[in-house]
Amino acid sequence: MSRASRMVPIALFASLAAIPILREAGLPIGGFLPLIAGRIIIFAIAAMSLDFILGVGGLASFGHAAPLAIGAYAVAILDAAGIHDATIVIPAAMLAAGIFALVTGAIALRTSGINFLMITLAFAQMVYFAAGSLADYGGDDGYSLDARIMWAGWKLSGRGGLYAVSLVCLFAAWLLFRTLTASRFGRLLSAARQNRVRVQSMGVDVFAVQLTSMVIAAMVCAVAGVLLANEAEFVSPAYAAWGRSGSLMVMVLLGGAGSLHGAILGAALVVLFEEGLGRVTPHWPLIFGPLLVLSVLFLRRGIAGIGRGDG
């Protein structure tokens, strides 16, 4: 691994950790940057989980908003039942998303290429419409949480608390996916992307490898959904909309597929453009759109690939 690719993630985590500290120290960061950074972290977790299956495993899911929304709805449903204990909410969210990925993945993995893209989209759309029909949880209007989740009696009501927890989750996700990618399992997953038939002819059940990776990715993404619900204190079917799946995919590809920390860069860029530049001008797509085109034409490996050459 090159030095740059070791330094970049460290720098990223350091600057994300520094934002609230600097704010406490009185720097004029304003209320907006920590808020945006909080969302960058949450979307980075979701995007990184997508990068694991898409960048490493070559499974281009166009429905990754589904586990995000399932995580968020787990929060809503338990909230309505008066349950806010993180040690129940988070495992429940992960379990639900895992089961969803297990069932839909088993069907989706029969296809490949553009058909895989579309069948995963189809499953996410089903989640979207199903969420909209949950009249007890606000239907299409969404559901306002009574309270945020808490852990061992410690309430995540303050901004700082949720931010810290999110950052820890992102770091944990990064460690997890890095370990997985470097492991034999990760090698197999990547090998199956490079040459599915060869891996099969080595006696490996490619289907099982890919399905396992999809379940893991969905479970991690569900954690992002839990955090997103708590950050907004609101849950809505919009979390499962296809635009959201597309946006996660843009984060991964723009950041540099397969690099994991590229997902953080991609999430940062997308959120900064949409929510940062979006504050300055509603015409931000006029800048962001061409940027996407140029990044494809001139950066072959996303932002994380800048300066690394072709190696």
């Binding site: 553009i114 579309m118 029909s133 015409h283 990044s295």
Partner: protein, 304 residues
């Protein structure tokens, strides 16, 4: 029963509109391996140009002709300037770049024409309705849309099955390397296919303009439907696109009312009021997932 016939007609008509968009998409993807998300933008541009040209040139027909041609030319220009560089890139690169094109052009449209929906007048000749059966009238314009779709389908069938270009398109869809091996100017073939697809999508946009609301982003939802169509039909297959477009059109109209009725019959009133509409909305996705689960490459895959 009359309702059933009308619903079926509506389904076919929606299917024809979808086919016009899906035909270009499936060929571009089949022949060039190019995932063009911005294909829906061509539909939007067609509709906007149609409204504008109809205003300038005084009438629907001039608008239809001019807008189809200009939309096709615009698509070609995009192809020459940008898309051409993406042909040999991965599908995901293509997705990212053409997504960038979508959000840019949606915003440009908003800047040029404003965010308020526009009005397109129906041509005198085709406005009005005729008596389908006693007490039920059907709009002439819809029959015209259906006829246009069928004519294009027929024309494409002739081009694809009977001409040299068509032979190359078929060959390209099943084996691209072979076509190049034949010493054909593949770039020119690509541009013919691309221009044709862009023009058809623009044509569909003008046709739809008097029926729907012309607004920025109007192509996005239709694009998803068009992708559903080409995936169900089997990527690269015109025949598949035609069959799947009719299927999606019919499922979306007939299936929706059927599901609502079924859920009324099978479930209690409150449950069916919740479940029925949700299932109706996701029906085409259920159908697509089901078809792909059974036939992972779609109904009529072009590739062996």
């Amino acid at each position: 029963m009359t309702l059933f016939i009308v619903q079926a007609l509506n389904g076919i008509q929606l299917g024809m509109l979808l086919f016009l968009i899906a035909a270009g998409l499936t060929l571009v993807f089949g022949v060039m391996k190019f995932v063009n998300l911005a294909h829906g933008v061509q539909y939007m541009i067609g509709a906007y140009l149609g409204v504008t040209f109809a205003g300038w040139a005084g009438g629907f027909w001039a608008g239809l002709l001019l807008a189809s041609v200009v939309a096709g030319a615009f698509g070609l220009a995009l192809d020459v300037v940008i898309y051409r560089h993406l042909y040999r890139r991965s599908e995901l690169d293509q997705v990212l770049a053409t997504f960038g094109i979508i959000i840019t052009l949606n915003e440009v449209t908003r800047l040029l024409w404003g965010s308020n929906p526009l009005d397109m007048k129906m041509p005198e000749l085709l406005s009005g309705s005729f008596q389908l059966v006693e007490g039920l009238r059907y709009p002439i314009y819809r029959i015209a849309v259906m006829a246009a779709g069928l004519a294009v389908a027929g024309g494409l069938a002739v081009v694809v099955n009977r001409t040299r270009v068509g032979m190359l398109i078929r060959a390209g869809a099943s084996n691209g390397a072979m076509v190049e091996g034949l010493g054909v100017d593949i770039g020119r073939l690509f541009r013919i296919v691309f221009g044709m697809g862009a023009m058809l999508a623009g044509f569909a946009g003008v046709l739809a303009a008097p029926l729907v609301s012309v607004e920025p982003g109007m192509g996005d939802n239709l694009l998803i439907l068009a992708f559903v169509v080409i995936v169900i039909g089997g990527v690269g297959s015109i025949r598949g696109a035609f069959v799947a477009a009719c299927l999606v059109g019919l499922v979306d109209t007939l299936g929706r009312s059927l599901i609502t009725d079924l859920s009324h019959a099978a479930l209690s009133a409150t449950t069916s009021a919740r479940v029925g509409p949700a299932v109706a909305s996701m029906l085409i996705y259920l159908v697509m997932a089901l078809i792909l689960a059974i036939r992972p490459t779609g109904l009529f895959p072009a590739r062996a």
